[in-house]
C-alpha cells in the first residue's frame, strides 16, 4: 500500500493511494488506524513530505559506482572513507515535499541532485539485528539528497553542503510493500534520463543500515534514512525540473530555482 500525507483546505491527514484518489486514514499510521470511505482526487490535494521525522539520517558513499564517480570528479580522499559505515544527519529543517521548489543558494557555485531510496521507520528500534530490521521498517519512499559539492565540498559536517534550506525533497509517499534490495532508481532532469542504478549495488543494505544506526541511537516511528546515491550525478540550474523515480514507489518531482534570480 502507498500511504500519503496530504493537506486540503488547511486540514492535514494521511491517505492510502487508490488509483487517482486518496482514501482518508483515521488514527495513527504507526499504530491503530483504519481506512474511511472519504476520498479526494490526488490532483485536488497538496502532497506533504511523507513524515515529519525526529531524525533525518543519511548514509554517504554507499554505492561503489558513486564513489568512483566522485573520486574522478572531485577528490580521491573520498575513497578511504567509503569502506566504513559513516552515517550523518541531514537535518529535518531542509525537508520539502512533492512539487515544492529546490532553491540554489546564492553563495553556492555548484549544486547537484542525488536520487535515493529512503527507509521509513515504523517502530522504535534500538539494537536490532539485520534479520529483525524489516519488522521495524514501515516502508520506503524516494528522496533527492541535494548537495553542493562546489566550494562547500570540504564541509565536514555537511551542514551547508547538504542541509541548506530546501535540500531535502522527500516523497511522494510511503510504499509499505517493497523488497528494497533490487529496485531501480531513475533520475531525470527536464524529462531526460540522467542516471539509472539499482539498490542491489549498496555497500550497506537497508537492513544492515537500520541495525548499525540502532546500535547506538534509538530510531523512532517516522524517522527517515537516506541510503545513498548510485552512479553519477549532475549539477542543477535555475528552471530545471528534477525527478527521482523508483517505479514500485512513484515519482518525486521538484522544480529548481536560483535564489539569485528570485
Amino acid at each position: 500500500m502507498k500511504f500519503a500525507r496530504f493537506e486540503i483546505n488547511g486540514w492535514q491527514s494521511y491517505g492510502v493511494v487508490d488509483g487517482d484518489h486518496l482514501r482518508v486514514i483515521q488514527g495513527d499510521i504507526f499504530g491503530t488506524h483504519h481506512f474511511t470511505d472519504a476520498r479526494y482526487p490526488i490532483s485536488s490535494v497538496k502532497i506533504l513530505p511523507p513524515t515529519m521525522p525526529k531524525s533525518f539520517w543519511a548514509v554517504g558513499l554507499n554505492y561503489a559506482d558513486h564513489v568512483a564517480h566522485q573520486v574522478e570528479n572531485l577528490d580521491a580522499g573520498f575513497v578511504s572513507e567509503a569502506q566504513e559505515f559513516r552515517p550523518w544527519q541531514k537535518g529535518v529543517s531542509c525537508i520539502i515535499g512533492q512539487g515544492e521548489t529546490i532553491v540554489l543558494p546564492k553563495e553556492s557555485d555548484y549544486v547537484h541532485y542525488e536520487g535515493e531510496l529512503v527507509i521509513v521507520i515504523g517502530k522504535p528500534a534500538r539494537r536490532v539485528t539485520p534479520e529483525e530490521a524489516p519488522h521495524f521498517i514501515m516502508g520506503y519512499t524516494c528522496a533527492n539528497d541535494v548537495s553542493s559539492e562546489g566550494s562547500w565540498h570540504d564541509d565536514p559536517s555537511n551542514w551547508r553542503k547538504k542541509t541548506s534550506d530546501t535540500f531535502g525533497p522527500v516523497g511522494p509517499w510511503i510504499e509499505t510493500d517493497l523488497d528494497p534490495q533490487g529496485v531501480e532508481i531513475i533520475t531525470r532532469v527536464n524529462g531526460k534520463e540522467t542516471d539509472r542504478g539499482s539498490t542491489s549495488g549498496m555497500t550497506f543494505n537497508c537492513y544492515e543500515t537500520v541495525s548499525r544506526i540502532s546500535e547506538f541511537v534509538t530510531l523512532h516511528p517516522g524517522d527517515l534514512i537516506l541510503t545513498g546515491a548510485p552512479g553519477a550525478v549532475e549539477g542543477m540550474k535555475d528552471g530545471d525540473v528534477v525527478e527521482v523515480e523508483i517505479p514500485e514507489i512513484g515519482i518525486l518531482r521538484n522544480n529548481v530555482i536560483a535564489e539569485s534570480s528570485v
Copy 2:
C-alpha cells in the same frame, strides 16, 4: 524569568520558576501565553528537557583554551579546523533532561563531559544579522555535550561520538534574561569542581552563531544550539554525578551509569 517544562501525573506543561515553585503557564511559550495561579513545588514535578527541538545544533571547538586542551590530549589535526565556523547537528534523539541518567555505551572506552551554554531559539530565523540575532533568541540553558573521544575520536559526523542515546543532557530550564557573553560555566564531578570557564572566551559568540547558521538554514522556535565547551574536560565513569552550572541559569545534574554494569 526561568521557563521550565515539566510533567506531573502524566500531564506536561511549561511553568515559570517562582522560588521553589513552578507557576503554570497557559498557551504557547513561543507565542501568546499567560501565567495562571496554579503552582506546584518544583520538588513534586519531573523537570523535562526545556524544549523538544526540531534541530539540535552544536558549534565545535569554539574556545581557544579547549582547542589547546584537545590538541595536547588527542590529535593536532584539530587545530586547523578551529578557526572556521563549523556547526554540526547533535541529533534530537539523544536529548535527556534534568536528573536523567547518562549511559556509557558498552562499546566505548572513554566518554567525557563538556559543560556548555545553550541558545534557545524563540522565533523563526533566516538570514538574520548578529545585531538582529537577540530578537530571535528566547533565552539560554545549560548542556552537557557528552562525547566519546576514545576509539570513536575519528568519527567524522560525530554520530556515535556525540549522538549516542543519552549523550544530550539539557536543562534545567530556560533563562530569558541573560547577557550570554560573560557568564561562567562550572562543571563538577561528584561535587568537586573540575572546570570553570567564561563565555567571553568564545571564538564565535552567540549572536554570530545564530547569524551564521541562519544564513543557510532556518532556525525554528525551540531549536537548541550548543555553543562549545571552554577549558579542559575529563572522563566520566560508572556511578559519577556530573553537574553543569551557569549561576545565572541553574544547575544541570545527571547521574552516570555504565551500560555494561546494567
